[in-house]
Amino acid sequence: MEVLQNDQIASGLKNIFGDSILNVEYLDYLTITVKRDAILEVVKQLKEDSVYGFGFLTDLCGMHFPASVTGQKEQLGVVYMLHSLEKNFRIRLKILFPIDDPYVNSLTSLFNGANWLEREAFDFYGIQFKGHPNLKRIMNTDDFQYFPYRKNFPLEDQTRTDKNDAMFGR
């Protein structure tokens, strides 16, 4: 059986998608940052091209980067983990986008398993998945008014003065 190589996947995707591949990193798994609008096509290509065969969505989760971290605008992100079970190869895809335009194409047309994972990312980060069949909150109540995993949502009562996180490295 042919073994997939990091470079092979990265260059293969670059050939097809060109500018939509923003960044390629070799971390614990091959990590590719993709333009937000291209994510559905990239995943589709990875899934349906038999050379790759990434037919298994391992994980999907949201991310939030406040302006203090990005240095410019507040951003949201989604991280995908795909797994090619035939070749036993994992890949991580990332997309980043501004928080005031949180629209991403849903992967539910490719993976049924993406359904609740996307609902979770919507519930906690407010990421709107376009084409999702039932995008509503999953963990919190339906009338909840916040996106609680964003960094600016306080974990505890912020009026307390007896606790100073700055003393503890965060």
């Binding site: 614990d28 969505l57 993976f111 398993g113 994972l117 909840f144 490295g169």
Partner: protein, 415 residues
């Protein structure tokens, strides 16, 4: 935010629905299964649209015991996240604990002594057995066979005794630390493990004799809640549920951790992915786990005795008596607790084969004292999505059985 209010589509809004096809009239009733129902072993609600006793459609509501672990973890130092992981799948806490330790060790690139790795394998396989005991004996209970449950739960108590001798706790174990275990296992632990290895096979055999060829059990479980391999993969199934559908995916083999590549064991697979297959896969996995524990015990004998943690003082919390009597230990203790140790910037995804499937930890570190982002890939949460499809058209009693054979654990579902 106005778009997220209860929509008319929700099944909960329809009490009784009357459908006519010209001649006859049909009544669909809405039935609430849960949130707290004695047959569902946990807090989750299913709103069912029933035609008599047949389920036409269903809607699952999760999140009743959501505790925002991922948010909590962003404010906790690495060593304090272990007790959070206990509460994911609380039937097999040690796997979660050690999975978390392995994630941090992957981030800091720690080298773990072989003996510690084997000790971890022993605890994790015991946890797998304990988890499968719960699931399989409860399948028995849901088919009306309480006896097997009482036999096997006695054995589970013995596993808990082993946990207790290792770490002092029974259910939410918080076992081990980053780098290894908090203390050398006492003599009693090895005795208990050996006794368990001797006695458990007899009880398990007895349990299998009660159920495996039992006509009532066969009739109830064969064909109940089936799923094909393609669908299971599409739903991102992992663990025994995926293997019951016929896909031999096991993290212990595909992405070995903690020296699993050195062990000889088989991965049982089913064919139809129904309740009976899931039951049988779990049964066989218990036998395989016993095999792994036996191998680990022989491997440990060849390793230098007394090694129970890695040599990473910046991350491994020193024992308390050291802290009070030894300056270096005091310094390291202070550094770890106050978040002064340098933690590498980076991101890792690490997964272990939990009792229910691939338990993954996606950890992003910005070099701070706490994770920048920690995401738990909970197998339960992901495969429970398929429940709606699996119970469509089946009887209510089969739906209960399907749920218990999928081993949906509320703690893991809601995180």
């Amino acid at each position: 935010m106005s778009e997220i209010t209860k929509t008319d589509k929700s099944l909960a809004n329809k009490k009784v629905e009357v459908v006519t096809d010209g001649e006859s009239e049909k009544k669909y009733t809405t039935l609430n299964l849960g949130p707290t129902h004695p047959a569902t072993h946990g807090i989750f609600q299913n709103i069912l649209k029933m035609d008599g006793e047949i389920i036409m459609d269903s809607e699952s509501t999760v999140g009743y015991i959501h505790r925002a672990f991922e948010k909590l973890a962003e404010r906790r130092p690495y060593n304090q996240i272990t007790p959070i992981t206990d509460r994911l799948n609380y039937c097999s806490s040690p796997i979660n604990n050690i999975g978390w330790h392995l994630t941090v060790e992957k981030l800091i690139k720690a080298e773990i002594p072989k003996r510690v790795q084997y000790m971890r394998v022993i605890v994790m396989e015991l946890a797998r057995i304990a988890d499968h005991i719960v699931c399989n004996s409860v399948i028995g209970v849901d088919t009306g066979a309480l006896t097997g449950f009482t036999y096997l739960f006695q054995e589970r108590e013995k596993i808990y005794d082993i946990y207790e001798s290792i770490c002092g706790a029974r259910l939410t174990t918080n076992v081990g630390r980053i780098g290894g275990f908090e203390r050398e296992w006492p003599e009693k632990t090895w005795e208990l493990i050996n006794r368990f290895l001797e006695e458990f096979p007899k009880t398990l055999k007895e349990f299998e004799n009660l159920l495996m060829r039992n006509r009532i059990f066969l009739d109830r479980t064969i064909g109940a809640g089936p799923i094909t391999a393609e669908k299971a993969l599409n739903y991102s199934f992992t663990g025994p549920n995926l293997r019951a559908a016929g896909v031999d995916y096991d993290v212990r083999v595909f992405t070995p951790y903690s020296s699993y590549e050195e062990f000889e064991f088989e991965i049982p697979v089913g064919t139809k992915g129904d309740t009976y297959d899931r039951f049988m896969v779990r049964e066989e996995e218990m036998w395989q786990s016993l095999k792994i524990i036996r191998q680990a015990l022989t491997k440990i004998e060849k390793e230098p005795a007394g090694v129970f943690h890695a040599n990473i003082p910046e991350f491994y919390l020193p024992p308390k008596e050291e802290v009070y009597n030894n300056m270096e230990a005091l310094i390291y203790h202070f550094k770890i607790v106050m978040g002064e140790t340098e933690i590498p910037v980076g991101e890792v995804y690490n997964c272990v084969e939990g009792a229910n499937g691939e338990l993954g930890f996606y950890l992003v570190s910005d070099g701070g004292r706490t994770p920048w982002r920690l995401h738990f890939r909970r197998p339960c949460f992901i495969y429970y999505q398929a429940y709606r499809e699996m119970i469509k058209g089946s009887m209510l009693s089969d739906a209960i059985l399907t749920m218990s054979s999928m081993n949906v654990i509320a703690g893991e579902l809601d995180a």
